[in-house]
């Protein structure tokens, strides 16, 4: 009975969480639709959340591209298909690793920052103060962060794609003596414009996940500094899990068997 009880409770919690996120999404969407947007704050958030994430995105994607190339190039040359390495790196980067790794890294940096900032505003009654002034916390805090993520995550993803392919090209050249011309030719053959667009569609979904989970965790913070810590950890863990799951679903839908 205890087990059933627990399963039941967990299901209710999960549904409640999903409901909360959906409501927040609906409210945010409604403010955006009515153009009730704080532009300057949104631009500030683009800087804090996006521009300041560039360096970690570049670092992680550079080494990812390099390692894919390292693993595939030496073997490919052994089998006499060295000319396919560029394709392999580009394919993996643009369709999967670029969008997903960027999202995961940004979830760690930005999702936590959003949750911690909003969470500490909850425990110091700043959110109540906003509400009491007739200012909706969703419009005031969530929408600028959501918009900033929607603008910046695709840009960061493009960065990641480029850097990852460039890193792969460099390793292919130095370790497997695959010329950059052959690498690029192969890459261009493997991926088309629509692959890049689909990768960016993924990053839009991830942007929504990071911003909304971070904000929701922050807004549902209870109980002082310890609560803020819990909310922050939760934001990172939950958004990363959701990114992995939705990445699979999106790959399935967008790329199907192709």
């Amino acid at each position: 009975m205890k087990v059933l009880d627990r399963v039941g409770r967990a299901t209710i919690d999960l549904l409640e969480y999903a409901g909360g996120i959906t409501t927040l999404a609906g409210e945010s969407g409604s403010f955006m639709m009515r153009m009730r947007i704080r532009f300057i704050e949104t631009i500030n958030q683009c800087y804090f959340l996006g521009v300041q994430s560039i360096s970690i995105v570049i670092l992680t994607s550079l080494f990812t591209g390099m390692v894919i190339s390292l693993e595939s190039a030496v073997q490919a040359v052994q089998f006499g298909i060295g000319s396919l390495v560029g394709g392999a790196v580009a394919f993996a980067s643009v369709r999967e690793l670029g969008p997903m790794l960027t999202a995961v890294v940004v979830a760690g940096r930005v999702g936590s920052a959003i949750a911690a900032e909003i969470g500490s505003m909850v425990v110091t009654e700043q959110i109540e103060a906003l509400t009491s002034m007739g200012l909706e916390p969703t419009r005031f805090l969530v929408v600028p962060r959501l918009l900033a993520m929607l603008v910046m995550l695709p840009l960061l993803t493009i960065f990641a794609d480029v850097v990852s392919i460039a890193g792969g090209m460099w390793i292919a050249q130095t370790y497997a003596h695959i010329s950059s011309d052959s690498f690029i030719a192969s890459a261009r053959q493997a991926i088309g414009f629509e692959d890049i667009v689909k990768g960016l569609v993924k990053s839009l979904v991830f942007a929504v996940i990071i911003a909304l989970v971070g904000a929701y965790q922050g807004l549902s913070t209870r109980g002082g500094a310890a609560g803020v810590g819990k909310a922050t950890t939760g934001a990172v863990v939950i958004s990363i899990i959701m990114i992995f799951v939705s990445n699979f679903a999106l790959s399935f839908v967008l790329f199907g068997g192709h």
């Binding site: 110091t124 009654e125 109540e128 103060a129 906003l130 509400t131 009491s132 002034m133 007739g134 909706e136």
Partner: protein, 251 residues
């Protein structure tokens, strides 16, 4: 008969198992300063939150003018809230904005005033609480008492019909306490506004209050003018005003 600006009608509220308010009723009379007294943790701040619609009661009704705000959608409530403001017990300034921007916020968001005009109003409000020089400071650079005064300035800057002050003078020096008490009275006189003040400071209550309400064990057990309360025969009220350890109030 003076009009009623805000009314709690048989309100009950609990946090988890803990009952905070039990069938509590209170009328806030227009143009008057109503002070709420009661033990620490009795639920005084909770009453202000109910009046401002930040909490919804488990049972009973809360009215602002003729509107029952208990089931009012947030968007509608926001319209009414512009005429009400709450000065928080712990200031609750936004720590991402300067003190000046904090006080300017309600004006920026709800009026079409020009930046220069807003700056002037904000400076006036800050000066009225002795904080003129902190306009460009961040809240983290202010002391607790200064924060509290900045929160006070933010609450009065829009000249709302109803201002809810949560312990506006607690922790302030006697001179500033006098200044704040004076400001509350002056605002009421000038704008015929209504004020609800939570305070533990009997001196300033006697100075400014038109009515005093005492909250005890979830309900208002005494209500009246300052004289009526001071001469009340209710042993609970007497013990509270005397600050005595012996009496019916359990410690």
């Amino acid at each position: 008969m003076a009009a009623i600006v805000a009314r709690l009608d048989g309100v009950s509220l609990q946090y988890g198992e803990r009952v905070i308010l039990r069938n509590c009723s209170l009328d806030i009379v227009e143009g008057a300063i109503t002070c709420i007294i009661g033990l620490s943790g009795a639920g005084k701040s909770t009453i202000l939150r109910l009046i401002d619609g930040l909490r919804r009661p488990d049972a009973g009704h809360v009215y602002l003018r003729e509107h029952d705000i208990c089931h009012m959608p947030e968007r509608e409530l926001n319209e009414i809230r512009r005429k009400v403001s709450l000065s928080f017990q712990f200031a609750a300034l936004l720590d991402s904005l300067t003190v000046g921007e904090n006080v300017a916020l309600p004006l920026r968001e709800h009026t079409r005033l020009h930046d220069d005009a807003i700056r002037k109003i904000v400076l006036d409000a800050l000066e009225s609480v002795g904080l003129g020089s902190t306009y460009d400071n961040m809240p983290s650079e202010l002391s607790g008492g200064m924060l509290k005064r900045a929160g006070f300035a933010r609450a009065i800057v829009t000249r709302p019909e109803l201002v809810l002050y949560d312990e506006p003078t607690t922790g302030l020096d006697p001179i500033v306490t006098h200044l704040i008490t004076d400001t509350i009275v002056r605002l009421r006189n000038k704008l015929n506004g209504t004020a609800v003040v939570i305070s533990h400071d009997l001196q300033s209550i006697y100075m400014m209050a038109d009515y005093v309400a005492m909250l005890f064990e979830g309900a208002i057990i005494a209500y009246g003018t300052v004289d009526e309360i001071r001469t009340s025969s209710n042993p609970l009220v007497q013990q509270f005003l005397e600050g005595s350890e012996v009496g019916p109030i359990p410690i």
